[in-house]
Symmetry: C2
Subunit: 354 residues, 2 copies
């Protein structure tokens, strides 16, 4: 298989972990006889420094032509006081919109050897395995008006969804549930928001098309509770952009190993952007100690979702598990009797496995 991949290292540890993903993918290409070509572009703070914009045209164009995109992370204190349009996050929001990456998929599953690091009691978190499907290109993130009025005395943001935007993300979630344990939790605030009422209606309409999926509705506030008290309750959660932002970050700390969590953002033609859930971690950037696993597992998701290469994805995941089983880990994790290694050593362990 011949695939062209755009790498967007971004800022901070993004620059380090993207190299790890590239090494692992090169090993996979060799092992399975694929041809993966790579092209690197700037986004976020790095792009602001070089081109005066967090999302240069050349980056957008390259991504549009690629078969998939890997992103490291964006942001850092250097750009924190910049005006809105010159903030690194704008690059991220911009590329999501430009590629129409409407479906953000975040699988959250603890690693057995790492569950001890969870803030939750082991009996609460053990066995949890959930997928959050977040709508990523609509809602209050992109609605207009979003502005001051009356001389700055009033401020307005707008949550907008089209029926079609809701339908496609709901379909995506139903399909994901079919491929898992067949349970879908739709999260909304239907007792207050009109948009949530439409969301619920659409899930109700779609239900008939997926008779093998059991559907439930949970209000966003109740979901925020239940994720903590009963995380094993969930299989697939589907929700709108802002609720998904909050709940997926909440869920990401439950297993105690944020540095291991990948994410995928996909459009209708299957092209996707894959990135770790963690941020650019400016405090440890450049020190060679960053955990590359979330980025490497994001590359595995790319192989599976965008290229349909299941065996290859599985091999990467097995490689990660085997490194953990052997007791290796990076500085962000505490493992009893473990052997702490840096970014390149951790990567090499996984490459060697392949």
């Amino acid at each position: 298989m011949k695939k062209h991949i755009v790498l967007l290292p971004g800022d901070g540890i993004g620059k380090e972990v993207i190299e790890s993903a590239k090494d692992v993918l090169s090993a996979i290409a060799e092992e399975f006889n694929h041809l993966f070509s790579f092209e690197t572009h700037e986004i976020g703070g790095a792009a602001i420094d070089l081109y005066g914009t967090p999302l240069p045209e050349t980056t957008v164009n390259a991504c549009k032509q690629a078969d998939a995109v890997l992103l490291g992370a964006v942001g850092g204190p250097k750009w924190d006081l910049n005006p809105s349009h010159l903030r690194p996050e704008r690059g991220l929001l911009g590329i999501r919109k430009a590629l129409d990456l409407y479906a953000n998929l975040r699988p959250i599953k603890g690693f057995k050897n790492l569950l001890h690091a969870s803030p939750l009691k082991e009996e609460v978190i053990s066995g949890s395995d959930l997928l959050i499907v977040r709508e990523l290109t609509g809602g209050i993130y992109f609605g207009s008006p979003s502005e001051r009025r009356d001389n700055g005395q009033v401020v307005v943001d707008t949550l907008v969804y089209t029926r079609r935007e809701i339908e496609r993300i709901v379909d995506k979630a139903f399909k994901a549930a079919q491929g898992r344990r067949g349970r879908l939790t739709s999260v909304d605030k239907a007792n207050v928001l009109e948009s949530s009422k439409l969301w619920r209606e659409i899930v109700e309409e779609k239900k008939a098309q997926y008779p093998d999926v059991a559907v439930e509705y949970v209000l966003v506030d109740a979901a925020a509770m239940k994720l903590i008290t009963n995380p094993t309750h969930f299989d697939v959660i589907v929700t709108e952009n802002m609720f998904g932002d909050i709940l997926s970050d909440e869920a990401s700390v439950l297993t105690g190993s944020l540095g291991m969590l990948p994410s995928a953002s996909i459009n209708e033609s299957g092209v996707g952007l894959y990135e770790p859930v963690h941020g650019s971690a400016p405090d440890i950037a450049g020190k060679g100690v960053a955990n590359p696993v979330a980025m490497i597992l994001s590359a595995a998701l790319m192989l599976r979702y965008s290229f349909g290469l299941d065996d290859e994805a599985k091999m990467i995941e097995d490689g990660v598990q085997s490194a953990l089983d052997a007791g290796f880990h990076t500085a962000d994790l505490r493992v009893e009797n473990g052997r702490q290694v840096g970014t390149t050593e951790m990567t090499k362990l996984i490459v060697d496995f392949i």
Copy 2:
């Protein structure tokens, strides 16, 4: 002191626990020579059944004339399929707006003897003591337009704040922080929302007036994580309506005893509505097993915030602690070697203490 209190039992266990609060307040009145008069009105599902509306005029008028309001809980499966305007929650939203109860205060502090029931590890939750100050009458809950457009193809909700609405809640939170450990966390999504940017600007402006309070800004997604990984980090959290809804519910399960948590909703003249954080629990309603403590502690908050009766509030809180210390608890809690009692017994224990 002479005070007139409106009781709104509402639905489910609300009807039971409101009696407990009344009994405890009567004991306090006797002990401290106050005159508390009570008047009961309907709200929520009970009001729908009797008057065809979740918030009758007579209820609103009575509350407007009262010195304070105690609310049990609203809602239940019986009304779940009703159209929006005939849902019990509308009564709650309506009374908040009618009394301009802009400040929702939720103190969250674990009881030592109950922390073992927390989903979090004891070393994570132990020592946490935080207050969430949620804006309650603005934002996307009340903004218009909130409607379908283009034949139902598009749906819109609107997040609106006036500068004055933000200023008053921020002031409230700064003052609360002064009376506590002097730390304020303002939660927003300033990297995406215009309303959050104004919110942050106003906190920055106000800061100078409260030099004894240390301020930090945390994005809502990061706050959802930090509440779990490091709950002891927080003293006072201030945030807008929807974020406050999600985060305060998230926080309410951290200590493992939701049935113990009170809340206060206050307006500018100090009149307040006090209610437990838990809901109407239709599954156990009418069985005499509901935990009355959250309702009783809500009455204590009323004494403190609306009537300035600190000693009296303290006595109720001590009464609750002493019942717990003696090993008594309701069915919602598991206490090793504890003695399980019903709603009336638990209430009596606290009344006897007074």
